[in-house]
């Protein structure tokens, strides 16, 4: 450090910012900062191409010209910026770079703003912005800069495969769980309706109400008689079900008896009844064929 007022050579911040309005050096040749492009090209054309292609359009280029000189975007010295902009355009043309039409449109816009700046300004208090010919250009530059910065922000965000990776562990012999299909009640009922329509049992069916509670009870009684042990007849009834429940159980027992699925024994007259699963000696149908016939018959009877 040589002194307080002499900025250190390693301090780029003070180095670049000291003469506020001076152009940033465009290049440094033999230690001499070059701020104005000489007429003769001193930079290899290829390097310049890369340089110029780095712009994302005329707004980006204008923004560069403004920022390079630490100018405030809201108070652009339009004449000077226009001059510099045109110099780049000429350069791009000399290099025969593919010059997008937008660059020329911007050149025309700048020329127009410049000429309007030369006219005496009428400032109205109501709409001061409209009075400044640069207003629209400034608005566009600001808007573009917002998204230019947003893009930079986006690029800085930690993203997969660059800053982070999904942590994963192997699952050897992974198997797929198969979910059982879903069924709705209407679907099943429609299926049943179709069976009924196909078989003739529907046509012969005369009874209004299918005693489904009896069928359920038949299943329940059979389940209760799982072993071939005798069960007390009365134990198959549940008093809390009331008269209807008792009747349903009784009918179910009669039906099971008729089908030979259970047998009822009474060891003495007026003695307690015992129920157990049938053992085949009852008057049961003697084959699937018969059983099916029986079913049809029953359907007719019900």
């Amino acid at each position: 450090m040589s002194g307080a007022d002499e900025p250190g050579p390693t301090d780029p911040q003070t180095h670049g910012a000291s003469p506020a309005q001076a152009e940033m050096p465009f290049a440094v040749v033999d230690g001499q900062p070059i701020t104005v492009l000489p007429r003769d090209l001193y930079i290899p054309p290829q390097a310049l191409e890369v340089f110029l292609e780095a712009f994302e359009g005329p707004l980006d280029m204008l923004l560069y010209l403004i920022r390079r000189q630490n100018l405030d975007i809201l108070d652009i010295p339009i004449a000077e910026i226009t001059r510099q902009y045109m110099r780049y355009i000429e350069l791009m043309q000399v290099l025969q770079l593919e010059l997008a039409g937008e660059y020329l449109v911007m050149a025309a816009t700048l020329a127009e703003v410049k000429s309007r700046m030369l006219l005496p300004r009428v400032r109205s208090d109501e709409s001061p912005d409209e009075a400044d010919p640069r207003a629209e250009l400034v608005r566009r530059l600001q808007e573009y800069e917002r998204f230019k910065r947003a893009a930079e922000g986006l690029d800085r965000m930690p993203r997969l495969e660059r800053d982070t990776w999904v942590a994963a562990a192997d699952l050897a012999g992974r198997k797929v769980t198969r979910l059982p299909p879903q069924v709705t009640l209407p679907e099943m009922l429609l299926a049943f309706q179709e069976v009924l329509a196909r078989s003739d049992m529907f046509a012969h069916h005369h009874v209004q109400r299918e005693a489904l509670s009896v069928r359920q009870r038949m299943t329940d009684v059979l389940a209760a008689l799982e072993t071939r042990e005798f069960v007390d007849f009365v134990r198959l009834f549940r008093a809390e079900e009331g008269r209807l429940g008792v009747t349903v159980t009784f009918i179910a027992l009669l039906e099971l008896l008729r089908e030979g699925l259970i047998e009822i024994q009474q060891s003495e007259l007026y003695g307690p009844l015992h129920v157990r699963r049938g053992d085949g000696r009852s008057a049961a149908p003697t084959g699937a064929q018969d059983a099916a016939n029986e079913d049809n018959l029953r359907a007719q009877n019900e």
């Binding site: 099943m188 049992m201 064929q289």
Partner: protein
């Protein structure tokens, strides 16, 4: 180099790599100046192994190097992430189920008689596995055919309190009315019919389906 740092970087590398890593790969991850050698990496691996001792993951060595994997004992719950979308049940299955419900206790032979075609054993097996029907006894005829009935799960699944809540045959006769009454949801049918075979990653709605089923 801090041992903890080495351990955690080795762990991160193993989890990020998506392939088994050798000792070379793992030492190569560190800056040369850090002086982390194969011995240090090995120590880190041993430390990680100990860390994972009670966890659902484990660090193992396979032919091409080290990798972190799910402990086989935990494969079962984790596997549930891969769910196959259900196919729709066949008409034959639904008919069989309906016959068991309305005609129980009933034998296969009796079902065949009514339907006019043989009952596919798979169908009965599926219904038994689903716990919708059960064998409630045997008919006392030659061959002792099984008698089938519905279960409590069957009633629960279809939201019935008792079998009587099923429409009566008389009601079933007015099929057209039935369609309207039950407002047969076309949307439901479409959902069921959705392509099977898609795995869970593509089917994040699976838990919802399960919830609907309950």
């Amino acid at each position: 180099m801090n041992e903890e740092y080495v351990k955690y970087v080795v762990e991160a590398a193993l989890l990020a790599a998506g392939r088994p890593l050798g000792l070379d790969d793992l030492t190569g991850v560190f800056d040369e100046r850090d002086g982390v050698d194969a011995a240090a990496v090995r120590a880190a691996i041993d430390a990680l192994r100990a860390d994972y001792a009670n966890r659902a993951i484990q660090l193992i060595e396979v032919a091409s190097g080290f990798r972190v994997q799910i402990r086989p004992a935990f494969a079962e719950p984790v596997s549930k992430l891969w769910v196959e979308r259900p196919a729709k049940y066949s008409r034959a299955l639904l008919e069989t189920l309906a016959l068991v419900a309305y005609r129980q206790p009933i034998t296969r032979g009796e079902i065949e008689q009514i339907r006019g075609v043989a009952v596919n054993p798979h169908i009965v097996k599926t219904l038994l596995e689903r716990n919708w029907i059960r064998v409630v006894g045997h008919r006392d005829v030659p061959g002792k055919p099984e008698l089938l009935g519905t279960t409590r799960e069957f009633l629960d699944y279809f939201g019935l309190k008792k079998l009587d809540d099923l429409p009566t045959l008389a009601q079933l006769r007015e099929l057209e009315d039935l369609r309207v009454q039950l407002s047969l949801p076309g949307a439901d049918a479409a959902e069921i019919a959705e392509p099977a075979g898609a795995e869970a990653p593509a089917a994040p709605t699976t838990p919802t389906d399960a919830a609907e089923a309950g």
